[in-house]
């Protein structure tokens, strides 16, 4: 057993399942970036995108009028080593498309992804693709749909090991499976491995998802809304696990979420997406303390916070989704933006640096004017 088996909390005597749901981190464990200074924000760059674009064709294949849904448009983002980068935005903002592009599930319409400096378009052979998928695995949103119900949970992790780490013997694979299960707080690992998905709670299943990813010795885990289907009391345990994987194993995580508060809790960097484009990005605390883009301000003003007094301002915004089918030039937030000027209707704003390491795509903010749209 490793030092990580500390996750076990004493189970109640008469419960059927005595598996810990949310192992408490020990008092000395590194808390999720409570430090004020950007701890690892300037780490070596692991992944970077350049003008990454994905358009989907809409309508019938042979129709004369071709319409395109601009799911992701001209995205320049980067993820450092040992970094949790949160991508936040409403549904339809392109955040899941981004994850799928990075996972090589979609081919970009244009633009390029560089992983450890090498372009992803050059990763073509089966062996190279397999290696990339091992280094950049994905954890899915729905723990109730992403496991095959007829197999024990050991099936998935053993298959991952067989496929990606062929050098291991059967015995070693089993040891490795137990090791990663313990690392994500699923103890006793030997017992949990033999269970069927329906015997585990949602939180435990999501941990299995992370264990599977971990078995591949990943550099970057793409986590698409990993906690949104879980109960609030369970979520924190998973978020703590993500921080622990970063701190103890040096894994980077792309954390896709619509929950800004949870992004703040774990993420080093925050990327706010709107209608397929980056609206704003920077170190999490900096973006939340000084939001420059009106959309970021709207998003922050709408977050329910029981500890805060009721804010005003967001009521007038209906939260209607933007048009991303054949969009015309101009800022895509202009229809909802109370500060929109003429330029916003004609020119698509580029990301520009407004503070050190803090970019926003807004004409008004770039002009130096103080942006106070919402909240």
């Amino acid at each position: 057993m490793t030092e990580l088996s500390r996750g076990a909390t004493p189970g109640p005597p008469n419960r059927k399942a005595t598996l810990p749901e949310a192992p408490l981190p020990p008092a000395t464990s590194p808390s999720p970036s409570t430090a004020d200074e950007p701890t690892v924000a300037t780490g070596t760059r692991l992944l970077r995108t350049e003008g990454l674009t994905k358009h989907f064709h809409i309508g019938r294949a042979l129709s004369r009028h071709r319409h395109y849904l601009h799911a992701v448009d001209d995205l320049d983002i980067s993820i450092g080593e040992r970094q949790i980068v949160a991508v936040a935005g409403e549904s339809g903002s392109g955040k899941s498309t981004l994850a799928r592009l990075l996972a090589k599930l979609y081919k970009p319409t244009s633009g390029e992804i560089y992983f450890q400096g090498k372009p992803l378009s050059a990763v073509r052979s089966r062996r190279d693709v397999l290696r990339y998928r091992g280094e950049v695995p994905m954890v899915f949103q729905d723990p109730f749909a992403s496991f095959n119900p007829v197999f024990r949970v050991s099936h998935g992790v053993m298959r991952c090991l067989k496929l990606h780490r062929g050098e291991l013997s059967a015995g070693q694979r089993h040891e490795e499976a137990e090791r990663v299960f313990e690392a994500v707080g699923l103890t006793p690992a030997a017992d949990v491995l033999q269970r069927f998905p329906h015997e585990l709670s949602g939180g435990q299943r999501q941990r299995v998802g992370f264990a599977q990813a971990l078995a591949l010795r990943p550099k970057l885990i793409l986590a698409d809304e990993p906690v949104s289907m879980l109960d609030v009391s369970i979520r924190i345990g998973l978020l703590n696990l993500m921080a622990q994987l970063r701190d103890e194993r040096g894994v980077s995580i792309l954390y896709i979420t619509h929950d800004i508060a949870s992004a703040r809790y774990v993420a080093d960097r925050l990327i706010i997406m709107y209608a397929g484009r980056v609206a704003e990005q920077g170190p999490t605390e900096e973006v939340l303390a000084n939001p420059r883009h009106p959309y970021t301000q709207l998003l922050l003003s709408a977050v329910p916070d029981p500890r805060a007094p009721l804010g005003v301002g967001a009521e007038t915004d209906r939260g209607e989704p933007p048009r991303v089918i054949d969009p015309t030039p101009g800022c895509r937030f202009r229809w909802r933006c109370p500060l929109a000027i003429d330029e916003c209707h004609q020119v698509t704003p580029e990301l520009s640096q407004l503070a050190p390491d803090h970019d926003a795509a807004c004409h008004v903010a770039r002009s130096g004017a103080e942006v106070r749209a919402f909240g």
Binding site: A22, H258, P304
Partner: protein, 342 residues
């Protein structure tokens, strides 16, 4: 259905001094009869809902909050059934009413807004014809009146009446939820029951919808029971808050008070499970363990296995609801503070 319906309900209501209450729930229990045993999903829940009041019910999945709503609206289907208690709505015990009797109450006096509007709206009928259906079923046959009222309620929820001609798939998620709410208001009910109506929406749309529900409620005076797993969502909108755990009410009090000084260890745990976007970043722990299997609930307090303040007594006997400064709390920590409820 063990409780006898209808008998001397008025007398009971008077005895309970709930004349201002539009809804009185007393010792309501619901059981699911399953292969592996009987699951008591709702266990002796009691509360009153005043006219125009907004009550929030929060809890984790499986705590019985949706089952409770379905029991109140008499929408339970086997294997679930009400095994005890009463639901007195406007002076009539709803438990045991026939479908025909219920039909006259539904939409007119009491309406339900379901979690997923996409599934609740008929995909092959326009919004207008679905609105007309509900109105015709309650005797409104005048076409002009139907059209007028449909346009009126749609405008009320902030949708252009032009969308009456639209089909559900032509509307955004937020608009579908809004039209469900509009439909619920067609016949000016006294009570609107909402089961996580905003869970499929983005924060901005969610916030806007909540504000609108509250505004309509203030204007039209209907009462609301709002079920959600997201405590922070109702924090600014509900008058009183019920925190449910494993089929029971664990804490019940004025919303502001519950948020400012939560008493039950479970409520405290829930409050501490939410990261905040303001203030200092602090490490959080959530609540260890998971909710109990209700087919085999733990002896004593159901939260005892996960409770950081558990005492020997908690594992042996079940706590009552105790009064603590105007809040009801099911916890032995407060057993000395006040007399047990009822």
């Amino acid at each position: 259905m063990s409780s006898a319906p209808g008998n001397d309900v008025a007398g009971t209501a008077a005895a309970l001094n709930t004349t201002s209450a539009v809804l009185t729930v007393r010792d309501l229990s619901v059981e699911y009869v399953m292969e592996r045993g009987t699951v008591r999903a709702v266990d002796s829940v009691s509360f009153d809902l005043d006219r125009g009041e907004f009550i929030g019910i929060v809890g984790e999945s499986g705590c019985g909050k949706s089952t409770l709503l379905f029991a109140i609206a008499q929408l339970l289907v086997p294997p679930a059934s009400i095994t005890g208690g009463s639901v007195v709505f406007k002076g009539h015990n709803m438990v045991g009413l026939t479908d025909k009797q219920l039909a006259s109450v539904r939409w007119k006096d009491l309406s339900v807004v379901m979690q997923s509007a996409m599934n609740a709206l008929n995909p092959v009928k326009s919004i207008a014809s679905q609105f007309a259906d509900a109105m015709r079923a309650h005797g409104v046959t005048d076409k002009a009146q139907i059209a007028g009222r449909s346009a009126e309620v749609l405008t009320m929820v902030g949708i252009d009446p032009i969308h009456l001609k639209s089909y559900p798939h032509q509307l955004s998620g937020g608009m579908r939820q809004r039209s469900m709410i509009a439909m619920a208001l067609l016949l000016t009910p006294d009570l609107v029951i909402m089961d996580e109506p905003t869970s499929a929406l983005d924060v901005v749309a969610q916030r806007s919808l909540m504000a609108q529900i509250k505004e309509l409620q203030d204007r039209l005076g209907f009462a609301v029971i709002f079920v959600t797993h997201d405590m922070s969502l109702v924090s600014h909108f509900s008058d009183r808050l019920i925190v449910m755990y494993a089929g029971r009410v664990d804490e019940f009090g004025p919303t502001r008070q519950v948020f400012d000084s939560p008493q039950h260890p479970y409520t405290i745990g829930l409050m501490e499970a939410f990261p905040s976007i303001r203030g200092p970043r602090v490490p959080l722990t959530g609540i260890p363990g998971s909710p109990p299997d209700l087919a085999r609930p733990p002896q004593g307090c159901r939260f005892a296995p996960r409770c950081p303040k558990v005492m020997t007594r908690c594992r042996e006997e079940s706590p009552e609801l105790y009064h603590v400064n105007g809040t009801l709390v099911r916890c032995f920590l407060h057993a000395g503070d006040g007399a047990a409820h009822d």
